[in-house]
Amino acid sequence: MSAADRYEAVIGLEVHAQLQTASKMFCGCGTRFGAAPNSQTCPVCQGMPGTLPVINRRAVEFGIRTALALSCTVNADNRFARKHYYYPDMPKNYQISQYEEPLAEHGHLAIEVSGASRQIRIQRLHLEEDVGKLLHEGNLETAQSSHVDFNRSGVPLMEIVSRPDLRSPEEASVYLRALRAILIYLQVCDGNMEEGSLRCDANVSLRLRGNRELGTKVEIKNMNSFRHVQHALEHEVHRQAQTLERGERIVQETRLWDPDRNHTVSMRSKEFAHDYRYFPEPDLPPLQVDPRWVEALRASLPELPAARRRRVMETYGLTVHEADLLTQGRGLADYFEEAARGYPRPKIVANWVLNELLRELPGDDDRAVAACPIPPRSLRGLIGLIDDGTISGKIAKDVFEKMYRSGEDPASIVRREGLTQVADTDELGTVVDRVLAEHGKVVEDWRNGKKQALGFLVGQVMKATQGKASPAVVNALLAEKLPKG
């Protein structure tokens, strides 16, 4: 039995999501990504003497909505707490977070892996403020000095901690994707891991299959994309298995994923585990969330990704995979449904969206879809032109590309460039005759059983008609005119 079979991975994920509020968690500064350094700060988010925090109601709203989408219990009584540690990106050297009384607890998220559905339990969900950004020359280990930009300090963060219910790096990846999709659907977070608006840390331990006790856990940080998450976890599981196989013990520590060298590196061992000295934040009165507010938010939740995927699958007769891809974001799902509305063969629309459209779009996120130059009705129009024989499928692909570049509707493009399909049997008959006459050898090949020869002849007809010949008619004519073998 291999090491992989002997041991079971036990993984928990801690996700931090930056909330898409207009202003920061505790002050009125803006939250836009990419502003010039230290241009989006004020005495509050810079921790100047005498300043005080004031809670952003929308951040609380976003937290509650997310909690409801994850089937959590919202704690009516919850409060903020100070978490102390010294680091230059933390202006006050404490972070205002939540500790003993978080906003929500005890939820779950269903994931589908290899056809099986599993419930992953959510331990807790709470709100806190983000820290600033550190810039070093080179890397942290070797830089002689560092520079601090406090723009990000104070941006609202939502921390979502799962129970260690995940059993493989693949499950972790699926969980993360599902969670991200929910956050995007709720429009509380844009889910951009590259920009850091969605961050993920993992706790990984191994145990012998069949054991109930948990092994020593290792924290993995610095995974900045879905790929990183998958690779880092695979690597770590492998590393731990090897360590245990050698009869050594796992050291409880934090390891950083190094994407360049494809391995995790131990952070220098800490002298003391962090003593955060939590105590209730005296500058912020506690929250008592009104149940009516919670119910109003529950009633206003959009259709969530899992439900939408199911409905799209059933309504439009798509596969799980197709439905999954189409419902990653609300924008794309809305686009598809609008384009497919009332159309008898939605699978065709799905193919166009998943293949041609996603090929052109810079991403599948709401921002990219919103900026798409082809509105859903134009895509429908294009498909309609194929259906009524105006253009062939192949020509349609060209038209599509032109539509994307110019934003024009398909009918105008077809008209202007004379791309209308030729289906007239007399006209095509003449062409077919000519082609057959010119390529007697090929005809002979066909008669002798070489099936590919037909494709060549079709191709020649297409060439002679600048691709505008109706494939159906061409095939019918050839079938008629070719000598029976």
Partner: protein, 504 residues
């Protein structure tokens, strides 16, 4: 003399044209220049700005459009309150050159009322202390006896008002830091209910205890100053959404029939007999004014000090974590790495008392000790609050001495614990968040001021002011002023500075 006038009389003179804000500001600035070298109340004097503000106020009076009762009135504020473009040190080397880019809300409100800011007043470092001897820069002297302390931590503010170096002042009170120096310096000191006045811009010491309040020449002045700054502030989540009554209007209603409680626990063993006598005499005055007194019990009083000396340092250790040499304030150069920079900067920038409290507070919050220390103290705090709640079921006002003793000599209380005992009668009021007013209630045989403390229900400042006013008007204490006639030998017009802690 213009500088002897309380704020309410200055306002009348301005309105009547008998004096101009420019004259008064100039008079105060001159007095500061001559006498502050003896008293040392000021850390920063904003001379040019003050004169300019006074000019503008004068113009408003001339045009018949004054802003209100504080327009043109020269005020100074404790250096723990942020003032835009004016150095704000908190009495500490770690902020010796810190210039805030913003005003505290109370400063904004004073400016909006037309007050003239004379400067920033000396204090115990980060408001931790009861004598102003813990200022990193120098000690303020008690104007009644320059060899004695003015009390603390708002020592500069109390001394300035007592010595007529400001018409009024704002101080802060976390465990007694307005009331105790008020008592030691023979002026009115008022700590409002927690949440009555915005803390935005008050450099935090203990967030759940700190409050800003006036030091004033009389009770009416205290009412005027409080009026100008009280009220909800959206920048301070702990500021209460409770309407602000018209404090000056309610002053003269008298105290006929007022139920007054006398807590036995506040007449502690070892207290100065002159303080006790003065307090009993004051209670008699209140009775003669119509108050009905009865004994009340506040049984957890003796535990208040212990609870305070866990809660306040714990919150302070957290609030002072930000002083790290990264963004503002002192940075000790030459450190090899950031941890060394932090540790050296804080060691060099904080004085001994601050370090003590930061250490104590860090310890009280640390893993394994939270429940036994901070957690326990917060429960004891609830018991102290309940004592007051129960007493206020039977009385409307509680009266007691402000301090067990009077101003002591500089250097006399070396032992930190001895110093902490100064606040034993003021601390429970902070723990329960209630308002407390100290008014002069007499003098010792040697001419040192004594203070009477009045404690009321939450947000009942109006009643406290009314009672304080009635008592004040029936007594002569507010009319006496300290004399300046060379109480100590001077070297070249300046007193020798006390050595910095740890040196010489």
């Amino acid at each position: 003399m213009l500088t002897e006038l309380p704020v309410h009389e200055l306002a009348a003179r301005f309105r009547g044209g008998q004096a101009t804000p420019g004259e008064v500001a100039a008079a105060y600035l001159e007095r500061i220049e001559t006498l502050d070298p003896q008293v040392r109340a000021y850390l920063t004097v904003t001379r040019e700005a003050a004169l300019a503000q006074a000019e503008r106020a004068g113009a408003r009076f001339k045009a018949g459009r004054p802003l209100g009762p504080l327009d043109g009135v020269p005020i100074a504020v404790k250096d723990v309150l942020c003032t835009r473009a004016v150095r704000t040190t908190c009495g500490s080397r770690i902020l010796e050159h810190f210039v805030p880019p913003y005003d505290a809300t109370v400063v904004e409100r004073l400016r909006a009322a037309g007050a003239v800011l004379l400067g920033k007043l000396n204090m115990d470092e980060f408001a931790m202390g009861s004598s102003t001897e813990h200022s990193a820069f120098f000690t303020t002297r008690n104007p009644w006896d320059l060899a004695r302390v003015p009390g603390g931590s708002s020592g500069g503010a109390a001394a300035a008002v007592a010595a007529d170096l400001a018409a009024g002042a704002l101080g802060t009170d976390t465990g007694g830091s307005i009331r105790q120096p008020g008592a030691f310096c023979g002026v009115v000191g008022f700590k409002p209910t927690y949440g009555r006045v915005s803390r935005y811009g008050l450099v935090a010491f203990a967030s759940s205890l700190d409050q800003i309040g006036p030091l004033a020449k009389d009770v009416e002045d205290a009412a005027l100053l409080l009026q100008a700054v009280a009220g909800r502030d959206p920048m301070d989540s702990t500021s209460a959404d409770v309407p602000v009554p018209d404090y000056p209007a309610g002053l003269t209603a008298g105290i006929e029939g007022l139920r007054v409680g006398i807590p036995a626990e506040y007449f502690i063993e070892g207290m100065d007999p002159e303080v006790e006598r003065a307090t009993q005499a004051a209670i008699e005055v209140l009775r003669n004014l119509g108050a009905r007194t009865q004994p009340v019990s506040l049984p957890h009083t003796e535990y208040g000090l212990a609870a305070y000396y866990l809660i306040a340092p714990a919150e302070a250790s957290s609030n002072l974590a930000r002083y790290d040499g990264v963004k503002y304030g002192l940075r000790v150069p030459g450190a090899r790495d950031i941890v060394e920079m932090y540790s050296r900067t804080r060691a060099a920038g904080f004085g001994a008392e601050v370090k003590r409290r930061v250490m104590l507070g860090t310890y009280a919050l640390s893993a394994g000790y939270y429940d036994a220390y901070y957690g326990k103290a917060q429960r004891v705090r609830t018991l102290v609050s309940r004592d007051f709640q129960q007493a206020f079921d039977r009385v409307d006002l509680i009266v007691a001495p402000t301090t067990p003793n009077v101003a002591f000599k500089m250097g006399e209380k070396e032992d930190p614990l001895q110093m902490y005992l100064n606040d034993v009668l003021t601390i429970p009021v902070n723990l329960s968040g209630l308002p407390g007013l100290s008014v002069p209630s007499g003098f010792t045989q040697t001419g040192l001021p004594i203070g009477l403390q009045l404690i009321g229900r939450a947000f009942d400042e109006a009643m406290l002011l009314r009672a304080g006013y009635a008592y004040e008007r029936a007594t002569p204490w507010h009319e006496r002023k300290p004399a300046f006639d060379g109480a100590l030998p001077r070297e070249g017009g300046r007193f020798p500075l006390p050595p910095r802690e740890g040196e010489g």
